[in-house]
């Protein structure tokens, strides 16, 4: 059996036991102690805009129907008939007032209540044997939303979603709240990769160091606006609340000029200025940092990037949400959505979508090379030798455990922020992960509350 406390201790030293990327016992602990209680993303509200609209999503093996009921409330039902356990919804997207089980015909309203069943009187003696009003599809224990992002927790108790997210909300809003109308999302693209789910989460939470190597081809062909991949080290890495991420340092300028640099049209810039907090505006306008990749613990990641989308060198930014949905210790389903501010001009939405398809997602030229790495890591982590290897994740630390990258004084955002290549973020993410596995209190490296 896995010694979770040994994993915790090793990660405290910045050394990751390689086997955690494929070990079945670790996966079972993740199922029970992490995904059994964590806030896990299931859908964005814009995917179910009208009454009856639904999508079906999973938390590991648990299938959930995310549906807007006739009263406009978004509900999350466990997709299993109360009678014999058949899935009452076998499509992944659609619109329905009711879900009828194909096995024996029990049917449920889209708010989850049992509406009817065949031969109710003959078979059950009516409501005496089976009181319909007392039966409904099992609801997800807790459902909460932030900026339209819907999360479920399989635990009845625990921190609220807001408490979980904490100060990461500052960075989250740069993706999800570019105007008061919020996001609309399209997709997802879905594909399965033979890689452990953690690797994607860790990569997006703070791996600026891989860009010049892994993504060199994308720089070679001039797709990326930033002509030199080593510019990556001028960005800050931040970790706040339950999330961390990477940024790019933008050329000198004020808020408007820097937003224009990454390709936003003036009307979107003004809406963002109005929607964002002074600290969010200052992070771009005064500090000159633009959010890039990020991960909200455990398995929801974000991308913001600004490629050149035509021969004239037109720069257009895009946003993507992606979930690393565990399938097994060695397989992950990637769900990747394109996201754009709802009030963006149609022409911007079109071009931003093209930019997304070229860069990220199932065919994206950045993402292609990422997945190649992750599949390879997972495969080679299964053997005997990998059990003896602890991966060096100590970047940014001296041998005496002193930080090489100092925190940035006066930075406008919350949490810890450091310029340059380091693995503080990956260690922070892994610390949260391993403390879940150990079953103890979840260690939070950067607890709630703004940085002074």
């Amino acid at each position: 059996m896995t010694d979770a406390s040994a994993i915790v201790a090793s990660i405290r030293e910045g050394m990751i036991p390689a086997y955690v990327y494929s070990d079945p016992d670790v996966f079972e602990l993740e199922r029970e102690r992490l995904f059994g209680s964590a806030w896990v993303f299931v859908a964005h509200e814009s995917e179910v805009p009208s009454p009856g609209d639904y999508v079906v999503r999973r938390v590991l093996d648990d299938s959930f129907i995310v549906v807007r009921d006739e009263g406009g409330v978004v509900r999350v039902h466990f997709n299993m008939c109360l009678h014999r356990g058949m899935q009452v919804c076998r499509a992944e997207v659609g619109n329905a007032s009711h879900f009828r089980c194909p096995y024996h015909g029990w049917s449920y309203r889209n708010d989850g209540r049992l509406a009817g069943l065949p031969f109710h009187q003959d078979a059950y003696g009516g409501d005496d044997g089976l009181p319909r009003a007392e039966h409904r599809l099992l609801p997800a224990p807790r459902v909460e939303a932030i900026d339209g992002l819907l999360f479920v927790s399989l635990a009845a108790d625990g921190p609220t979603l807001r408490e979980h997210v904490g100060d990461f909300v500052h960075y989250l809003g740069c993706y999800t709240h570019q105007s008061d109308a919020g996001l609309e999302v399209r997709g997802p693209q879905r594909w399965r990769v033979r890689a452990n789910w953690k690797i994607g989460s860790e990569n997006f939470v703070g791996d600026m160091y891989h860009t010049p190597q892994t993504h060199r081809s994308v720089v070679d062909i001039g797709l990326f606006r930033e002509p030199k991949a080593h510019k990556r080290k001028e960005g800050i890495l931040y970790f706040a609340g339950a999330g961390g991420g990477t940024t790019y340092k933008l050329p000198p300028g004020d808020f408007t000029e820097r937003m224009r640099y990454v390709g936003y049209p003036d009307d979107m810039i003004e809406r963002a200025r109005a929607a964002w907090t002074p600290a969010q505006v200052a992070m771009v306008g005064d500090d000159g940092f633009m959010v890039s990749a990020a991960t909200l613990f455990p398995n929801l990641s974000f991308v913001h990037n600004w490629p050149q989308v035509d021969r004239d060198g037109t720069v257009v930014p895009f946003i993507s949400l992606r979930q690393w949905q565990p399938v097994s210790p060695t397989e992950t389903e990637v769900l990747s959505w394109f996201a754009v501010d709802r009030q963006a001009p149609d022409a911007f939405k079109r071009e931003s979508y093209r930019a997304y398809l070229m860069c990220f997602g199932s065919s994206g030229m950045f993402e292609q090379d990422d997945v190649e790495n992750w599949v390879s890591i997972t495969q080679v982590s299964r053997g005997t030798m990998a059990r003896r290897l602890r991966l060096n994740s100590r970047m940014g630390l001296t041998s005496a455990n002193e930080a090489i990258n100092q925190q940035v004084p006066g930075f406008s955002g919350p949490g810890a922020a450091r310029v340059g290549y380091s693995e503080f973020n990956q260690r922070d993410w892994l610390t949260m992960w391993s403390s879940h596995l150990a079953g103890g209190p979840v260690e939070r490296v950067h607890p709630l509350g703004p940085r002074q």
Partner: protein, 180 residues
């Protein structure tokens, strides 16, 4: 989904030329001669592979209208080829061993709404892409229906439109660093 439409006879010269085009194109892709593949495309080429979804029968759609795996013009396809031709496209170095199996070719005269007087042909084909990487991984497959529009150029047909209906809603391939 469009309904059934009878195809051109298999000995029709247009069918023979279109079929040859598809088989030659498959050979070029399997050789990895991507620059030559670009020569087969018109300047206004559109290359689209929508995301497939599982829906109940009367929903009226089984692809997403607003999300695709590919939605490409010539610029985007050129960038993909340029990338594969760098020395740093790691996901294809070492190369995948691919085989584009093209079958069930059916051809129809003209584009939608024209009679084919300009020599344009619509070609429908079934594709099974086999992709093998390394020595320990399971092979990956992508199965799709392709609907193409082929236009006569100075040197035979050119591909003006490709619409790829993939049969899986969740792809079981690590990425689409391949052309279908």
């Amino acid at each position: 989904m469009t309904g059934y439409e009878p195809s051109l006879p298999f000995d029709d010269s247009r069918h023979l030329a279109a079929h040859r085009f598809l088989v030659e194109e498959a050979a070029i892709l399997d050789f990895g001669d991507w620059a030559r593949w670009l020569d087969l495309l018109t300047d206004d080429v559109r290359y689209v592979m929508p995301v497939r979804v599982t829906t109940v029968r009367d929903t009226g759609y089984d692809t997403r209208a607003d999300m695709a795996h590919f939605d490409e013009d010539r610029y985007a396809l050129e960038k993909r080829v340029q990338r594969l031709l760098t020395d740093h496209a790691w996901t294809e170095d070492p190369r995948s061993r691919t085989r584009h199996l093209v079958t069930n070719v059916r051809c129809f005269p003209g584009e939608d709404g024209d009679d084919g007087a300009a020599g344009t042909v619509r070609a429908e084909s079934s594709l099974l892409l086999f992709r093998s990487r390394g020595d320990t991984r399971d092979a990956e497959y992508v199965c799709a229906l392709r609907r193409d529009v082929l236009r006569p150029g100075s040197d035979g047909y050119q591909l003006a439109r490709r619409h790829i209906t993939v049969e899986e809603s969740v792809l079981r391939t690590q990425n689409l660093a391949v052309f279908l």
